[in-house]
C-alpha cells in the first residue's frame, strides 16, 4: 500500500513538508492516513481532505496509489 500525501497552506508550514509517500499496511480510510502521518492523532475537525483531488470525508476509503491531501479552509476569490 503506497499513498501520496500532500499538505497545503498553513498546514504545510506547520508540518514543515509539502508531501510524503506513505507505505504501510492496514490503511483503509482518510482518517487512517492522517493517523499514520501525524503520529496517531485523530483528524482535526477544521481540516479539509481530498482523495485524488475530490473532496472527501474522514471515512472515505483509500486505495493503493491514491493521492490524499489535507488542508485548512479555502480562502480564494
Amino acid at each position: 500500500m503506497s499513498i501520496r500525501v500532500r499538505y497545503f497552506a498553513s498546514l504545510r508550514e506547520t508540518l514543515g513538508r509539502n508531501e510524503e509517500s506513505l507505505s504501510a499496511e492496514g490503511i483503509a480510510t482518510v482518517s487512517d492516513v492522517w493517523r499514520c502521518v501525524s503520529g496517531g492523532k485523530p483528524l482535526p475537525d477544521h481540516l479539509l481532505c481530498a482523495v485524488n483531488m475530490e473532496y472527501s470525508e474522514a471515512g472515505t476509503a483509500v486505495r493503493d496509489g491514491d493521492e490524499v491531501a489535507f488542508f485548512p479552509p479555502v480562502t480564494g476569490g
Partner: protein, 148 residues
Amino acid sequence: MASIELRDAPFLPYRELEAFQAALPELAGRYGATASFVGSLRDFNEGEAVSGMFLEHYPGMTERRLADIVDQAREHWPFLEALVIHRIGQIRPHEAIVLVAIWSAHRGAAFDACRWIMEELKNSAPFWKKETLPEGEQRWVQHNTDGY
C-alpha cells in the same frame, strides 16, 4: 461553453471580458444579458494595512473544482458562455484576483449563475491567501467573509 484559467501575472478584467466577447461572433445577437464580478485585492483587511498577498493553490484540483462548479451552474441556469479567470502567486493591492462573467439570453440566469459560481468558488476552490503586512509580517487569511 466555458473558459477557465489560472493566471500567475496581473490581468485587466474588463479588457479580458471585452476580448473574450469579441472572440465569440457566433453568440452575437443570442445573449441579452452579461453579468460579471471582479474581486480585487484591498489595501486593508481586518483593520490592518495589507501590502501584498500570495495565493497558493492545489494544482490540478483547482482546475477540476472550477470546471465542476461551472458545470453545476449550467444545470441550474441556461447560460451561453462563462469566463472565469483567477490569479495565483504574488499579488499587489488594487490588482484583480478573480473575474467571473456569464453571458445568457436573460438577466436572471446571468445574475444568478455569476453569483452562485462566485460563492461556490470562494467556498470550495482550493486557494489559500497569505497576506503581507507593511512591516513585512505575513499571515494566513483564516476564512472568507460571508457573501450573503
